[in-house]
């Protein structure tokens, strides 16, 4: 194998090793995946019972809500396979483990992306996304043809990039600040809990945050609106419904540049 084309080869080896590590204990792996699946289902169970009582939320019925949520879980499940290393970057910096990467003859981001993959989160959350999609896709009145399928695939790719960009930015901040967990909790996890709801029911300030600051609206709400056209769609400019892949690419590029500039300032916390 020649040195300049071994990127794919190396990525393959990394992937095989992480799989082996994560599935070393079979029963444990199954239990953990189920636990993640159930933990993430909590919100879905709550919506199920709520809509049994109320029928619709701002015009969205049960299947449409499931469809809206499915995009959120599916994109997260795919994203986490690549960005586990960045999710745990803060810990690596604090323990000094990250310094080992600096010594290896490959790109840092390449190593961070392939060195680890949280398979349980991927199976648990991605699995929930697939289940919700199967439960809802036939019932929400979308005509699945080449056009909508291409739109859907691009929207999922954009959603993966958007969340990857957020993880990359939060990881990069670790270079400047040693502890970013509570910031992550406030900006990412809090908003993600509500990103599954139609955002037009929220206060204007929260909508603006979800469109421009932590752009979850582009991960599921706008793509779902493009496909479903529920009430509330008219509150937003038509162009938003097409922007998911663009927003994903721009955000990811910006996050990547931020990383490239910041990594030069990296100072080890170890000795």
């Amino acid at each position: 194998m020649k040195i300049e084309n071994d990127t794919l080869f190396l990525a393959g080896i990394y992937m095989k090793t992480t799989m082996k590590a994560w599935f070393q204990y079979r029963i444990d792996a199954v239990l953990r995946s189920i636990a993640v699946f159930l933990r993430e289902s909590t919100g879905i169970i709550v919506i199920y019972f709520t809509l049994l009582q109320f029928d619709t939320l701002s015009g969205w019925n049960m299947s449409e809500m499931f469809f809206l949520f499915s995009l959120l879980f599916l994109t997260y499940g795919i994203m986490i396979l690549f960005f586990t290393g960045l999710r745990d970057f803060g810990g690596m910096v604090r323990s000094g483990n990250f310094d080992r990467f600096l010594l290896r003859p490959r790109g840092l981001l390449f190593q961070l992306i392939f060195v680890d993959a949280d398979w349980f989160a991927a199976i648990g959350q991605g699995g929930l996304g697939i289940v919700l999609f199967i439960l809802s896709a036939g019932k929400v009145g979308i005509e699945w043809n080449i056009e909508t399928i291409i739109y859907y695939v691009l929207a999922v790719a954009g959603g993966v990039l958007i969340q990857g960009a957020i993880f990359l930015i939060l990881a990069t901040l670790n270079i400047y600040l040693l502890q970013t967990d509570s910031l992550k909790e406030l900006t990412y996890h809090n908003f993600r809990k509500f990103a599954g709801y139609p955002i037009n029911i929220f206060h204007k300030a929260i909508q603006l945050i979800m469109i421009y600051v932590v752009p979850f609206a582009f991960v599921n709400y706008f793509p779902a609106q493009y496909l479903l056209r529920k009430p509330g769609a008219e509150e937003y400019s038509e162009i938003f419904f097409y922007l998911t892949p663009v927003v994903g690419s721009i955000w990811y590029l910006a996050a990547y540049l931020f990383w490239r500039i910041s990594i030069r300032w990296y100072k080890s916390s170890g000795n």
Partner: protein, 264 residues
């Protein structure tokens, strides 16, 4: 039994908590944001209607403020014992002249007391001034409410205690613990007011330990229960505490005999 060392443990945990002020502030903000957003969802569900099945928006608000506020305050370290079994320090813990269970209770109480004072109370104050919350039904009901939240904490604590004991047999307690939390989150009324559950489920839930954690205190606060019912519900909370704690206790005694510490 000498109570002093346990008070010292509780005090230590209380003081430890005061060190993380920024974290704490974020915690309060997160809780308020969560309550605020859940209310937005319910406003959209109500669509300006006064009440649904006798439940007003103000009652829903009160339910969320109380149960989510308490949920944030009643944080219990579910990995206290499992952590000590994993790293082997359980061996030295058992040699100490204080009861391990007593210490567990003391540390958790110190923590809960701190959070109640500096997390629940500020959250409550913010919510009272910003969103319409119903005041307690009467002075007596407020007293009964306080008693009932203490018992609710007891139920929550004993469930955690019993599940932690499984760590003597299982290396991976994380999965079971996570599933336990799913049950608590869905069935205790903190994420969906139990008034909105299907009728048959409400009937069943009445008798489970989960609804007695937050929902019974909320009902008492709102004056939905007569004194007779309050007495019966509190009695049920006590019975659940007794049953679950005793279950944990049996596991605790068996577990100690079985305990194998790796390494050392």
């Amino acid at each position: 039994m000498n109570i002093e060392p346990y008070i010292a443990y509780a005090k230590k945990t209380f003081l430890q908590k005061t060190a993380y002020r920024f974290d704490h502030l974020m915690n309060i903000l997160s809780t308020c944001l969560k309550i605020f957003i859940f209310l937005e969802i319910y406003r959209a569900l109500y669509l300006g209607r006064e009440e649904i099945g006798g439940i007003t928006m103000a009652m829903v608000t009160t339910n969320f403020v109380l149960s989510m506020g308490l949920d944030a305050a009643f944080y219990i370290d579910d990995f206290f014992l499992p952590g000590k079994i994993w790293d082997g320090s359980i061996a030295t813990e058992l040699l100490r002249p204080v009861s391990f269970k007593g210490r567990m209770i003391a540390e958790n109480l110190g923590n809960a007391f701190f959070k109640l004072l500096f997390c629940f109370v500020p959250t409550l104050l913010i919510c009272v001034f910003t969103i319409g919350m119903v005041p307690p039904h009467s002075v007596e009901m407020f007293g009964a409410f306080l008693l009932s939240i203490i018992l609710g904490y007891g139920v929550l604590w004993s469930i955690s205690f019993a599940v932690q004991m499984l760590a003597f047999w299982l290396v991976n307690i994380w999965s079971i613990n996570t599933i336990k939390n799913v049950f608590i989150n869905v069935l205790s009324g903190s994420m969906i007011p139990l008034w909105f559950m299907p009728e048959w489920m409400q009937g069943v839930l009445q008798f489970t330990p989960f609804s007695s954690i937050y929902f019974i205190p909320v009902q008492i606060y709102l004056g939905q229960l007569s004194f007779r019912e309050i007495f019966l519900r509190c009695l049920m909370q006590l019975i659940w505490i007794g049953i679950i704690y005793e279950l944990g206790n049996v596991l605790w005694k068996r577990g100690q005999r079985k305990l194998v510490v790796q390494g050392g």
